[in-house]
């Protein structure tokens, strides 16, 4: 298991290398060097000399690539030449706490997989405790984080890329996680219900609707929702249910804070009014996919021999479905969800540009339009890394859920 994860990580790193090289070359070979573009931007005039020296923009492309690569993994505040070991020595105490938390989380995860207890409760406990540990670790890392990697300065003059991306990533996470959750809690029960009521009117309607949704591009869903549920609805009925641009209204802060610095109810309502439509746009297609997949997987299980055994034992239909069918039918969807992460990020790129959501996607589109190469590279790498990590997480989760799976 451990060796398997390591191997997957190595493949992931290789993929990221390839990804960075492909994107880097594409940008290099399109109409002139980054330096030429940089010169066109009046906001960048004062720093051109500094950037040229730091990024080797006047050097051949392969040297530029290695400079970029080295910078990419190097924390800032430290001259890039000094290397990683020296850098660690210069980190403050808060960074060390964060690193310690990360190491502890990794250690705990690994340690748990060496404890051999054969029982269902143990598998469940292990899964949940690992997730909890990681959540806590991330919380510590997030609040203690003081270092940044040298991902460069936006060529559009928007400041450090690291800060931009981490600001936007939170917003994209809010949108993507909501969408994923929505797709899961609607799509899966829908598929299960369809399988139980196979061939019923509801089943056929559901199949038809998922087929149509599945064939609809995300931008059409987004635009239609925006027009019908927000603009036209307000125009026709005067009711403003949803907002179509941004994450919060301009008067968000005046809505008042709740207890312990948490958002107040009014603020929460405002957030939901902004979040709903983009989240549905992203979720709709995944939802259709999940329900179709879940229906098929549930049907397969329903026709399986072990379900017949369960019925022949005299179990009530409810127990048969809930205990014996569901557990088996839910396992394969883990893989689907992990593969879907890339799709949801893609959906977020499109949706964010439609709904003016200040996330990674909008950052990316803006950067692409002006070929802001540090930002493009950083966003692509962040997305690639996210996908790699999610796939590994899904594999681990699969192993936890299905006792038959063993990774060697």
């Amino acid at each position: 298991m451990f060796a398997y994860i390591i191997r997957r990580l190595v493949y992931g790193v290789v993929t990221l290398f390839a990804l960075s090289l492909v994107v880097f070359l594409l940008i290099q070979f399109s109409g002139g060097s980054p330096l030429d573009r940089l010169k066109l931007n009046p906001r960048m005039q004062p720093v051109i000399a500094q950037l040229t020296e730091l990024w080797g923009l006047d050097k051949p492309w392969y040297e530029q690539y290695f400079i970029w690569l080295r910078n990419f993994v190097t924390p800032v505040d430290v001259p890039a030449q000094e290397g990683l070991i020296v850098v660690l020595g210069k980190l403050g105490i808060r960074s060390w706490v964060a690193i310690a938390a990360a190491v502890a989380a990794v250690g705990y995860t690994v340690a748990l997989f060496f404890v051999k207890v054969k029982a269902n409760w143990w598998r469940t406990f292990r899964a949940f405790s690992i997730i909890l540990t990681w959540l806590i670790a991330f919380w510590i890392i997030k609040s203690r984080i003081v270092f940044a990697l040298n991902w460069g300065i936006s060529f559009r003059g928007d400041g450090p890329v690291w800060d931009n991306i981490f600001g936007a990533a939170g917003n994209t996470f809010r949108l993507g996680a909501t969408a994923l959750l929505l797709a899961l809690i609607v799509g899966i029960p829908l598929g299960i219900y369809q399988a139980i009521k196979q061939y019923s009117f509801f089943d056929q309607l559901g199949t038809m609707l998922s087929f149509i949704t599945f064939s609809t591009p995300i931008f059409i869903i987004g635009v239609m929702l925006q027009l019908i549920l927000a603009l036209y609805m307000e125009r026709w009925t005067g009711v403003k249910l949803f907002y179509v641009v941004g994450m919060t209204s301009s008067g968000y802060e005046e809505l008042g804070r709740g207890l312990f610095g948490l958002p107040s109810l009014a603020q929460l309502g405002d957030v939901i009014q902004h979040l709903t439509l983009p989240a549905i746009s992203i979720a709709a297609i995944s939802m259709a996919g999940y329900s179709r997949f879940q229906r098929a997987s549930m049907l397969e299980v329903m026709h399986s021999d072990y379900l017949r055994t369960a019925k022949a034992k005299g179990l009530p239909r409810r127990t048969v479905v809930v205990k014996h069918a569901l557990r088996n039918a839910l396992i394969p969807i883990v893989t689907l969800v992990s593969l879907d992460v890339a799709f949801i990020i893609g959906g977020a790129i499109i949706t964010e540009s439609i709904f003016g959501w200040p996330g990674v996607g909008r950052l990316y589109i803006g950067a692409i339009q002006s070929i802001d190469y540090p930002t493009i590279m950083a966003v692509v790498m962040a997305i690639g890394a996210g996908v790699v990590v999610m796939n590994i997480v899904a594999d681990i989760l699969y192993g936890v859920l299905d006792p038959r799976v063993r990774y060697d």
């Binding site: 054969k118 029982a119 269902n120 061939y199 399986s304 021999d305 072990y306 379900l307 017949r308 055994t309 369960a310 019925k311 022949a312 034992k313 005299g314 179990l315 009530p316 239909r317 014996h324 557990r327 088996n328 396992i331 859920l401 299905d402 006792p403 038959r404």
Partner: protein, 336 residues
């Protein structure tokens, strides 16, 4: 004579498909006494498994439906029971073992979980008592280290061991009838014998009646008190093992026997097959359903459906010409 344990009368189970209604079981009647071991033999698709599933009421509507019939078990008509009462019968009074042990156990629960679940369902015991019963049941089917394997998952077992678990699960609630649907088909030959002997022994100890469904005449030969042969949804011949094996009255039985490898006959003899393929169950041929494949068919066989009647030799047979034919004297399969 005491009332039979199981009394099936004129059972008809149909499946509706796009092409028409498949009459999988079409008028089957038979009785099984307490402690009796009954074999049901026939080609695949002849309705033997559907008969078993119908007795357990495991036919899933809307595709399949028990159209008419009566399944009396212990004096109660199972087809008239509520679903809740039927659940008590399933696994409690009638247990069932399936063909493929590799897929018949739920892969995500341990053997122990699945055994205990059954026991708790049908017996009024505590969880730890149920665990003890389960371990005893595993011991009974000769699984070594029964206490330990309770925590194992099905994929850690071989096919034979899984079938033992299935038998343990079936017998753990002391059912009166055990329906075994091709229990050894998926196993290799040495394991087959072990499993059959085990079942024979356990059923005898507990006086459990067994309904053994198989296409393998060799399996029923040593195991069953009586045998019924099914063809295209109905019973064509029923009698004791001796009667069926040594004096078949129906040409189909006779053909089946001819297709069987036998150790007690000379090596020279060729194996024979019953020519043709089983008929469509949507539009069965008129008259005797075996008619088109029968070497002895005459006009009457094409016109009227023969009914199961007492033959002169003692067993029951559904053939117009059983009394005039002397199949025993014709070398098996000689005409084909």
């Amino acid at each position: 004579m005491a009332d039979p344990l199981l009394n099936v009368e004129d059972l008809r189970t149909y499946f509706s498909t796009e092409e028409g209604v498949v009459k999988a079981v079409d008028g089957v009647s038979f009785k099984v006494d307490a402690g009796e071991r009954r074999g049901v033999v026939g080609e695949s698709g002849c309705g033997k498994s559907v008969t078993a599933m119908s007795i357990m009421r495991l036919i899933e509507p809307p595709a399949g439906e028990i159209v008419t019939g009566k399944v009396e078990f212990d004096g109660r008509d199972l087809l008239k029971l509520t679903e809740a009462d039927m659940q008590q019968v399933r696994g409690g009074d009638i247990a069932m073992i399936f063909q493929d042990p590799m897929t018949a156990l739920n892969p995500v629960y341990t053997i122990g979980d699945q055994l205990i679940e059954t026991i708790l369902l049908h017996q009024d015991v505590s969880k730890s008592e149920a665990r003890d019963i389960a371990i005893t049941a595993l011991d009974d089917v000769q699984i070594p280290h029964a206490g330990k394997v309770m925590e194992d998952y099905p994929h850690q077992f071989s096919g034979g061991m899984r079938q033992r678990v299935m038998i343990a699960m079936g017998l753990s609630c002391e059912p009166k009838l055990l329906i075994a649907d091709e229990p050894t088909t998926a196993l290799d030959v040495t394991t087959q014998a072990q499993i059959m002997n085990l079942m024979l022994e356990l059923a005898e100890q507990r006086n459990t009646a067994v309904l053994l469904i198989t296409h393998d005449l060799g399996v029923v030969a040593g195991f069953c008190d009586s045998i019924q042969v099914m063809y295209a949804g109905s019973i064509v011949e029923r009698g004791t093992g001796d009667e069926i094996f040594h004096n078949p009255q129906h040409p189909y039985t006779w053909g089946l026997l001819g297709s069987m490898t036998r150790l007690d006959e000379s090596q020279q003899e060729r194996l024979n097959s019953v020519r043709g393929a089983p008929p469509s169950l949507i539009n069965p041929p008129t008259g005797c359903r075996f008619g088109p494949r029968c070497d002895f068919a005459q006009d009457i066989c094409r016109e009227a459906l023969p009914i199961l009647h007492q033959s002169q030799e003692g067993q029951k047979v559904a053939c117009h010409r059983s009394d005039e034919l002397d199949l025993k004297s014709i070398a098996i399969g000689a005409t084909s």
